[in-house]
């Protein structure tokens, strides 16, 4: 009996080792109905892509827009993206989640239907399908709210904050809004800041809300009517608590050190940022509390790994005159590796004032 079982097990293992036993996904990425070469395909284990985790697998499309990536049997989420320079010279980001997510990979290579990337961000809003989108009315205290911004995000992982939204519109005098979108799945948030601005973290007293029906599924040729979308004032205490629980949360893994100016004097009030991406662009994965009067900082991390570390006196938006900025220069790429549970000393990080 034992010999029989071992024979069956060996057969299964052998089958798994053969090319016929390889599992994965393959398909084609498009942009405006044409194959898209040189795009990146990222495979995640979770649908709500956590930016603190790297993709499980990554590949690129060939000149015919095709990709193929080997993954073990399981459940996966695909995202396609490409940063490129448009014919007019502006840089644009193309991106889309695979509409077939999640993908169940059991045996062999799963064929994924072609899907199109969309133009994202400030250099190009989402390109709507005809007669397709979302409409509603933003309220506060039961009253229509004019001048509020409604933000359309294609991912929920950002916490529906920050500049990664695909589209933003402002409500009319009666609080109504309407935004054209391509068919897909979206997350909506709305805010009205006291200073009337479109960007920036909501402050105490600003009106803020995320749509309770997120994510919204928008089908081609149909405008989803949301009805009332209620906002509430941001409470100062809740905001502080959220900051404490969020990027400033204490963990057992951290970097520590001191921020100093070019004369070696402490640079209080400057934040330290940690990125997983060596380009150090966009939103950092972790942010420290402002450095103390002695320039000392501790940056808490979600886990071990290699992080790319910079420091800046403000966060969000382009670098402006009067800001302090610097990088960890222990390595040319500003990277530093820490193991889970460790507190790694970084020494002094020198920051300079930019004019």
């Amino acid at each position: 009996m034992l010999r029989h079982c071992l024979t069956i097990l060996a057969a299964v293992l052998l089958a798994a080792c053969t090319p016929e036993g390889e599992t994965g996904v393959e398909g084609t990425l498009l942009f405006r109905d044409r194959p898209l070469a040189g795009a990146q395909v990222e495979v995640y284990l979770k649908g709500e892509k956590d930016r603190s985790t790297l993709p499980f697998a990554v590949t690129s499309t060939d000149e015919r827009g095709r990709y193929r990536v080997s993954v073990p049997p399981g459940r996966y989420f695909l995202i396609g993206k490409k940063k490129e320079t448009a014919p007019g010279g502006q840089v644009r980001m193309l991106m889309a989640e695979c509409p077939a997510n999640p993908l169940e990979v059991a045996a062999g290579t799963k064929q994924v239907a072609p899907f199109s990337l969309r133009e994202m961000g400030r250099d190009g809003a989402l390109v709507p399908d005809r007669d397709t989108g979302v409409a509603g009315r933003v309220t506060a205290g039961g009253e229509p709210l004019s001048g509020a911004f409604v933000y359309v995000y294609t991912e929920g992982a950002s916490g529906l904050m920050g500049p990664s939204y695909g589209e933003a519109v402002q409500t009319d005098a009666d609080g109504t809004f309407s935004v054209g979108l391509p068919a897909g799945r979206y997350f909506l948030a709305a805010r009205k800041r006291a200073d009337g601005s479109r960007m920036g973290e909501p402050q105490a007293g600003d009106l803020n809300g995320t749509y309770p029906g997120n994510p919204l599924q928008v089908e081609k040729g149909r405008t989803v009517q949301l009805g009332a979308f209620a906002l509430k004032a941001v409470d100062a205490g809740e905001r502080l608590e959220r900051l404490r629980q969020g990027k400033f949360a204490r963990t057992e893994t951290s970097f520590s050190g001191r921020l100093v100016d070019q004369d070696g004097e402490p640079a209080p009030g400057v934040y330290v940022f940690a990125y997983l991406d060596s380009r150090m662009v966009g939103k950092p994965t972790y942010i420290s509390a402002p450095a103390g009067d002695d320039g000392g900082f501790r940056l808490f991390l979600g886990g071990g790994g290699t992080y790319f570390v910079g420091a800046r006196s403000a966060y969000g938006g382009p670098l402006e005159p009067g800001e302090w900025v610097g990088t960890f220069d222990g390595q040319p790429d500003h990277g530093v590796t820490v193991r889970r549970g460790e507190s790694a000393p970084l020494g002094d990080i020198v920051v300079r004032e930019v004019w």
């Binding site: 006291a194 601005s197 105490a204 007293g205 100062a236 910079g310």
Partner: protein, 399 residues
């Protein structure tokens, strides 16, 4: 109501109070101390009576509603300052002193009126941002550690009749903004009186007086303001045009400066109708070459664009190279139609349009310069025809 009672108690009792939110109409008078931020909600009105002394030992004053303050003093040490968030024209600060803050007054959007204020000994005296259309008039920006007045972020504010004196780095700094007026101001004794920087900063700077600054006006990084009818006297350099800055410089009087106008790194202004008499050097060209621009200009600008990413790795794409590049490269800077003084005019009459005027330093004096091991020809100034008489005697109207 409880909050209001707490505030009244705070007014009556000398002990500092903690964070407060004002949701109704409130009047401050006498001497008040705060230890944390006071917020004025969007429907609330805070009135600060003349003679009131408001001291912040921490935090600051955030106003989303309306603030009306006349003759009050807001003070503290390294406090947050006053933040006006989308306040309308009903918000009026008049004849107040704001001192000791990191940023004395930060205006985010809205149209508040800021009149006759003194902003002194702050990190930054006042910062106008987020497209604010504020009105700043008759204010004094003195001895602020970095900048007297920052105008940023597409602000369209008017800045008139104000004085900027003895600030640490810049009297005023216009960064990616388009103030609808910047006139009738005096900028004196600052390292740089006025900085106008970055593509998109194209305001009209008119009828101001710049005296005893290291640099009177510095235009940098593809900004294209109009500098008209200003008086620049006794500065190290009157006007410096740097890194692709192409302003129109017209009808100004520059006198008693070590250098009148300095032009460097692919800047191609139009200098016309100015009085440039009585400066050490009237016009100075440095590192200014059409050949260099053809060979290195776009590369240098790309490096600058990359550096705009906070950590040096990213490139922002808001401004294209096509927008920043010079339209024509003739190896000359246009300085025709200016008055160079009585002695200068005599000299020009003697040497003619092909001569080398002693008051202009350009490629006639220093034929080449070296950058990265390669030699480039220095541009020349076009100065003929010139004016035979002063041009601004009757036109300059500065405070």
């Amino acid at each position: 109501m409880i909050r209001l009672l707490a505030l009244l108690a705070a007014v009556l009792l000398p002990a500092p109070v903690l964070a407060l939110t004002l949701s109704g109409d409130t009047r401050w008078q006498g001497a008040i101390d705060f230890a944390e931020t006071v917020r004025v909600e969007s429907d609330a009105v805070l009135t600060v009576a003349p003679g009131t002394l408001v001291t912040f030992r921490g935090g600051g004053l955030e106003v989303a509603g309306r603030l009306q303050a006349d003759g009050a003093r807001f003070t503290g040490q390294d406090w947050d300052g006053i933040v006006l968030k989308g306040c309308g024209a009903e918000t009026l600060l008049h004849d107040c002193i704001v001192e000791g803050a990191r940023t004395g007054i930060l205006v985010r959007g809205g149209q508040p009126r800021l009149e006759g204020l003194t902003l002194t000994d702050n990190g930054v005296g006042m910062e106008l941002r987020q497209k604010t259309d504020a009105s700043v008039s008759g204010c004094s920006f003195r001895n602020n550690a970095k900048v007297g007045l920052f105008v940023k972020d597409e602000a369209t504010a008017a800045v008139i009749g104000s004085r900027f004196e003895g600030n640490g780095r810049f009297g005023a700094y216009i960064y990616r903004a388009l103030p609808r007026r910047f006139s009738g101001n005096v900028l004196a004794g600052n390292p740089t009186g006025l900085m106008v920087s970055h593509f998109g900063s194209d305001p009209r700077i008119e009828g101001n007086r710049f005296e005893q600054n290291g640099l009177g006006i510095l235009v940098d990084r593809a900004a294209k303001p109009v500098l008209a009818g200003n008086l620049l006297r006794g500065n190290g350099t009157g006007i410096r045009l740097y890194r692709r800055s192409d302003p129109r410089v017209e009808g100004n009087r520059l006198e008693g400066n070590e250098v009148g106008v300095s032009v460097a790194f692919s800047s191609y202004p139009l200098l016309v109708g100015n009085d440039l008499a009585g400066n050490g050097t009237a016009l100075l060209l440095e590192f200014q070459s059409s050949d260099w621009e053809r060979a290195q200009g776009s590369v240098a600008r790309e490096a600058q664009a990359s550096a705009r990413g906070a950590f040096g790795q990213s490139s922002r794409s808001e401004v294209t190279e096509d927008e920043r590049r010079p339209r024509q490269l003739s190896g000359t800077v246009d300085a025709r139609g200016n008055w160079w003084g009585t002695d200068g005019t005599s000299e020009l009459a003697r040497i003619g349009s092909e001569g080398n005027p002693s008051f202009i330093e350009d490629g006639r004096d220093t034929p080449t310069f070296v950058d990265a091991g390669k030699s480039y020809p220095l541009d020349r100034a076009l100065f003929a025809p010139w004016s035979g008489k002063p041009l601004t005697t009757d036109t300059i109207d500065t405070p």
